[in-house]
Symmetry: C2
């Protein structure tokens, strides 16, 4: 187990980095900025994937897979995409290695230079739309609702495990539609799916909104976002869904025959969430003792630890534990029994606290006599003695309670950190003392946004979908504004 | 639908290429040798993944994820690995693009050259063992049983959809053990898992064996393989599991403290199957009408097609179909109802035949009157009229029958194509007229293997695990041999 975690209050950033490593979620690799996702971290990601994948399929999407490498020229085809998109990409220039002349190492074979460089996908719009040209001929081929689970590479200079890595895992949805409205509806629908997933599975409240011009995805006409608030009062963009208009259809010449027989460009969306959600999950719920996982995403929901002195006692406890586990598994509870003799109960308690297992059961000889177990909750660290009878019922009800409790706690925290401000001094004051989201009027110009960003490091996180129309004066310029937007410092 | 498929008897290779494209499994992309896996193909791959993943987990393995890019120097560390392994790799040399001076395209930023080139993983032993050094300290950390689902790139010069592509999807298991025997047991166990999957899910009989020295994986001491036979009588290596000895542990300095406190190198295995299995699946069962899919891997197991003249008839049929589907889904049958009015029944029949849907139900007005449906089997193209009552039972029993029938048919085909030969003339004769596996004595030398390969294009597919020991004379040299091995022309 090693040294204790740094406290959140001491150094939140250090706490996060330590926790990700100590809880065996991920670690840095020998390749700059690229992480290894360890089995425990990957098990959480698999649960996320499974739920998201189910939600995508229930909304009519199918999975497919497109090439990892994209010809460089594809990037030049959609002008705003290439302009706005970060050009920090991994470039493949050669396709062969050879043994060096001294025979001691491998070197790049300079004779195997590609005619056109290939880029490791930073996102797949270009290569996918190059395929869609062949797939779409008529309105009968629409809508085309495709998702891809993939790895992507963006050569980030400053990286942090899960939050910003040079390679990350994600899903990217790419859809094509007959009409503008249908595409906009799709983009909004997927923002809704993301919000549903964040709130009901990650227990992480999010604000739905649209991005300002400067924060919009390169090539999009509108970016729909879900924004969450971390415990250090910084915002985190948790997922985005883009209405792409006809930009990619025009760039890749994807037309369809309408019912009336006319040729028209199709309308597009794209949407994605990534392993960044792992970072958001950690930062939303965890505490100074370690991870706190919402039961719906916890790889192990219940752990059973035997407390014993003799081998006979361990055998008796194990028999009872096996019996209980059988019932639990039938009820769909994911349970682990840790009867390792190499570690003491106290060590195991700390270990599962660090790993965020929602419920811990301890069984000792006296529990066997009394027909009880000791049940400890990870979320509020309380313990109680409960009956072995109907234990699965008790656990299921508690797991639901924990799931709800985590959401409520995060929701209350976030709600207390949305502050309406009306002048720029107050803006800076609130940002530096209280933090969180600042709800303020903005004159709608990129210049104002830029000045505020330079002066305060706060950016417009979103224009909330439910923002009410009200006359106001821009917090910086005093110019007219029709609704408040949300500012925050962000990840 | 377009033109009819080329017949297998005319040109098997052409038939395969056409079928993969017409059945919407995959297509070539704008990147040389890299394919796009289309939704229908990907749905089959997802079913394969789900079953394999379940089997891996049931045998104690966990998933993790390691970086896509590997520093070039890692490849030099395990000498036999780099020597033997194909050096046709994609090499990343730069990490940034920029807009060209004329502003019209993107070009590689020459200032952003990597100090050390990075290789897109062709397989991950090196980067994974670099991590294992940190993960393994003592016998308590062993066995380490990890699997990864990932994409890999090997710059193949001659590519074919699924069978040989520059990028492919696969899983790679990488395990570490205390003892040599335990590692060998693991490698054999995973060969068994692969054989189980091939036979019971893909309905594809396989022969388990070991590879000869020259066909062994670079860095392995023993390669366990499963070998299948395609309808054109060529063999296909469907999965391999490698006992790696201590080679990678030594190359990456991975030692553990034994129970006795000594420092020892760990023992390793690695094992993988890939999207190549998709090619094997297609070539094992499909026919001149299109795909034939085993029910356990078919994305759609049953399709219902309405036969109607009037809208009233369609409505009545649809009501009945919905009712039947509800029951089918409850019983776990994957069913689709195609009531598109844009296509005629005959077109739909051909379409689902092409797509290999195991069972097709047609319902017309007379069926409604009689309480019957017409049920067509894809595997043997027979039709019968069956009662609507207990239809789910009928379907489940037929799906099982089809699954078994496909296996049996492939098994009988394969069994008829293992020919024992005792001299080299017969060897060539059988190879060129009959084809399939040739069971022959071999003197165990690489030289002989090489000569046979050069003269006949046949290679040693495996030394069967169940090969009985018998004295014999090498089919080429007449030198002593103690058992027969299997030769074949192979994919």
């Amino acid at each position: 187990m090693g040294k204790k975690l740094t406290k959140r209050s001491e150094d939140y950033s250090k706490w996060y980095n330590e926790l990700v490593i100590k809880a065996d979620l991920a670690e840095n690799s020998g390749v700059r900025g690229m992480m290894v996702i360890k089995p425990y971290g990957y098990a959480i990601w698999e649960k996320m994937q499974a739920e998201l994948d189910r939600m995508f399929k229930e909304t009519g999407h199918e999975n497919a897979y497109f090439p990892l490498l994209i010809p460089k020229s594809y990037f030049s085809k959609e002008a705003s995409h290439v302009d706005g998109f970060a050009k920090e990409c991994a470039v493949v220039t050669h396709y062969r290695l050879k043994t060096s002349e001294d025979g001691k190492e491998v070197v790049v074979d300079e004779n195997a230079k590609l005619e056109e460089e290939l880029i490791i996908r930073p996102t797949s719009e270009t290569i996918i739309w190059d395929s869609y040209r062949k797939w779409i001929q008529s309105y009968r081929d629409l809508p085309l609702l495709i998702n891809q689970w993939a790895n992507v590479v963006r050569w980030e200079m400053r990286t942090r495990l899960f939050l910003r890595t040079a390679e990350f895992l994600w899903q990217e949805g790419h859809t094509a539609h007959e009409t503008k409205n249908e595409a906009i509806e799709e983009a909004i629908k997927m923002q809704g799916v993301y919000a549903d997933f964040a709130e009901n599975f990650m227990a992480m409240p999010v604000i739905k909104g649209t991005k300002s011009d400067s924060e919009r995805f390169a090539g999009a006409l509108e970016t729909y976002t879900i924004e969450a608030l971390m415990q250090d009062k910084k915002a985190l963009q948790a997922g985005t869904s883009h209405f792409l208009g006809q930009n990619f259809a025009k760039a890749f010449d994807v037309k369809f025959a309408t019912k009336e027989g006319k040729q028209e460009y199709v309308w597009a969306t794209s949407w994605g969430v990534s392993t960044r959600l792992m970072g958001a999950l950690v930062m939303t719920h965890s505490d100074d003792n370690g991870l706190v996982l919402p039961p719906k995403l916890a790889p192990i929901q219940v752990v059973i630890v035997p407390i014993y002195r003799s081998e006979e006692q361990l055998d008796a406890i194990s028999a009872k534990a096996e019996e209980m586990m059988k019932e639990m598994r039938q009820r769909g509870i994911s349970v682990k029994y840790d009867k390792r003799t190499t570690h003491k109960p106290g060590w195991k308690f700390a270990e599962y606290e660090l790993k965020g297992v929602p419920l811990r059961i301890a069984i000792g000889p006296r529990d066997l006599e009394n027909g009880t177990v000791e049940l400890a909750r990870r979320d509020n660290l309380t313990k109680e003695i409960v009956n072995q009878e109907n234990i699965s019922e008790t656990l299921i009800s508690l797991l639901n309670e924990i799931q709800e409790n985590l959401y409520k706690k995060a929701f209350d925290f976030r709600e207390g950190l949305i502050t309406e401000v009306n002048d720029f001094e107050e803006f800076k004051e609130v940002l530096n003392t209280k933090g969180g989201f600042i709800s303020a009027h903005w004159d709608g110009t990129e210049e104002t946004e830029e000045i505020i960003k330079n002066k305060t490091k706060a950016t417009i996180r979103c224009i909330p979908l439910d923002a009410k129309l009200e006359d106001g004066a821009c917090v910086l310029t005093g110019n007219r504004s029709i609704r408040r937007v949300l500012f925050a410092k962000a990840y």
